[in-house]
């Protein structure tokens, strides 16, 4: 027998205590940076928003239906910007929610393995297209196409970017919904089919309800992306804050206004400059609310199987 002295060598092994001590410190510092950044952004947002409301009445901000930041007699009602965002979100949702869930049901419940292997990557490619490309697509293709049968459609409008935002969030909703449906155990489907239920009854009455928390979260996350979407609306929706519900007219969203101001239309220290933060804060409240709704849905409707 060869004596390898394994026990002795293990006993004499000197591990570096320094590495064990420094690694958690380094990792903690890295973690804290992201937390501090978030806090920093929030702090700036709040301080500057408060400053804005020192110059402009918060009552006007919340109740006026006119937003005219660049006028010599400006008006500061946030309503048209919120309405602009909501128009885009609602149109996007009408496009993306039924198609996204429909596509997910097809992929998870009906498609053969082969079909799924081909279609899913294509959907994911769609999710990787830069939004500026979607914006260009909206204004150079979708808008003229829609104008060919809706003549009163303005060059800048809500309909075209709304549809394109819907196309943009569709893969996300489809993919997350598909994950939720696939995670429903097969024993559920067997239980239903074994009762003499048809495939569609099984999908609609057992699988979809069992996955409802995941499906709801997918929809809410998709919509919160639509709220924050900037490029498509900046390109194709125009920059006219609009408090009418007409979707054929030009409009401005909260994000669209922020782009307009930050791309050089306002000098530092002016009311317009500070309004940026108030609008940013409003936008932040909206997306935060969406995230909280998504988490609430996930928790509230979570099914354990």
């Amino acid at each position: 027998m060869v004596d390898l002295n394994i026990r002795e060598r293990i006993a004499n092994n000197q591990r570096s205590k320094l590495v064990e001590k420094t690694v958690p410190i380094v990792l903690f510092s890295i973690t804290i940076i992201s937390v501090l950044t978030t806090i920093g952004i929030l702090y700036t947002l709040i301080v500057e928003t408060v400053h804005f409301f020192g110059r402009v009445s918060i009552v006007e901000f919340l109740t006026s239906t006119k937003w005219n930041a660049f006028s010599s007699t400006p008006s500061w009602g946030i309503f048209p910007l919120i309405l602009g965002t909501l128009k885009i979100v609602v149109i996007g949702a009408i496009v993306a929610v039924p198609t996204g869930i429909g596509a997910a049901i097809y992929l998870s419940e009906y498609a053969s393995d082969r079909t799924r292997r081909i279609i899913k990557p294509i959907l994911e490619v769609l999710a990787g297209i830069p939004t500026v490309v979607y914006g260009a697509f909206a204004i150079t293709f979708v808008t003229p196409f829609l104008q060919s049968f809706i003549p009163p459609l303005n060059h800048f409008n809500a309909l075209s970017p709304g549809i394109v935002v819907g196309i943009m969030i569709l893969p996300m909703i489809a993919s997350l919904t598909e994950d939720a449906l696939s995670s429903v155990p097969n024993s559920m489907r067997e239980g239903s089919l074994g009762m003499g239920a048809t495939k569609f009854e099984t999908v609609s009455k057992v699988v979809l309800p069992a996955a409802i928390s995941g499906v709801g979260a997918a929809v809410v996350l998709g919509l919160s992306r639509a709220i924050g979407e900037t490029m498509i609306v900046s390109i194709a929706a125009g920059s006219t804050p609009n408090s009418s519900f007409n979707i054929l007219e030009s409009l401005q969203t909260m994000t669209g206004f922020i782009v307009q101001v930050t791309s050089g239309d306002a000098a530092f220290g002016t009311d317009v400059y500070y309004s940026l933060y108030a609008v940013g804060m409003t936008l932040f409240i909206f997306t935060l609310a969406m995230n909280m709704i998504s988490q609430w849905i996930t928790k509230r409707f979570r099914e354990e199987y």
Binding site: E190, G191, L193, G194, G196, A197, T198, E201, V206, E303
Partner: protein
């Protein structure tokens, strides 16, 4: 009694010696397989199965893992077709209708031939909605009938007293044994003709197992039951007839007491005495 081998006559004599006339004893056939073969891709999983099951009896299918017993019971309600690469040949007659026929609608078959699965699989819904699921999908909508169906089925499944005060609670709040009885109630709610049970107690504790075995004896009065089990004592305790499957073949099929006390095939004897499997 239907035999797969030429030993049939010998068994009949055995039965006569026990003062039973086999022809009088014989209940109506519910399932008859004739030269039934099944492949998963190239894997010949069931080979020339010839078997008959009878009304108001409990028929057990035993055999070692991979012998094809689960595949066979799932063929009886065509659930086996959920595996896309399955191919079958031969006939399975359900009360004289060949269920493998193209004209057979699986939904209709599965309504008459209910199934209880290995792992309790209630839907993530209330106890009430679980049991009412079958009647509802088959078009029964009025609350009064549903209430009665739910109560009747839960009573039949011997779980009414345990759940009657919390019918609106999620079925997942129940213990495994209770969940399995909810699944049995769910199956009974559409008043099937036959209940297939695929290792219904393999995921349960001994007390729940006994409850379900007792329940089967009650159910046998109104239903015909076919049960797959890897637990030989269970087959011996609950069943009237037992089929021994081995490597995709039916080795022996007979009255349960004969299979366990006086098997005719050496392999059956080795299996039931625990020498392999």
């Amino acid at each position: 009694m239907i035999m797969t081998k030429e030993k049939t006559s010998a068994i009949h004599i055995d039965n006569k010696n026990l003062n039973h006339s086999p022809m009088e004893m014989q209940n109506k056939e519910i399932f008859t397989s004739k030269n039934f073969n099944l492949w998963y891709g190239d894997n010949h999983a069931l080979k020339n199965i010839n078997l008959s099951f009878h009304e108001n009896e409990i028929s057990a299918i035993i055999g070692p893992s991979g012998c094809g017993k689960s595949t066979y019971i799932k063929s009886l309600n065509r659930m086996v077709e959920l595996v896309p690469i399955v191919r079958t040949e031969g006939e399975i007659l359900y009360r004289d209708t060949n269920i493998l026929d193209k004209n057979m609608t699986v939904e209709e078959l599965r309504t008459k031939v209910g199934m209880v699965f290995q792992k309790p699989n209630p839907f993530p819904k209330s106890i009430y909605d679980n049991v009412a699921y079958g009647p509802r999908i088959h078009g029964i909508k009025d609350k009064k009938t549903l209430d009665q169906v739910v109560e009747k089925s839960l009573r039949q499944a011997a779980i009414w007293d345990e759940v009657k005060d919390r019918l609106n609670d999620n079925a997942y709040g129940l213990s495994g044994g209770q969940q399995q009885r909810i699944c049995i109630a769910r199956t009974l709610a559409v008043e099937p003709d036959i209940v297939l049970m695929d290792e219904p107690t393999s995921a349960l504790d001994p007390i729940s197992t006994i409850k379900i075995e007792d329940l089967m004896q009650e159910l046998k009065k109104e239903y015909s039951i076919i049960i797959v089990t890897h637990n030989m004592q269970q087959a011996a305790r609950v069943s009237d007839k037992t089929a021994f499957f081995y490597q995709g073949n039916v080795i022996e099929y007979n009255d349960t007491n004969i299979i366990f006390e006086n098997p005719h095939d050496k392999r059956t004897e080795d299996y039931v005495t625990g020498r392999f499997g």
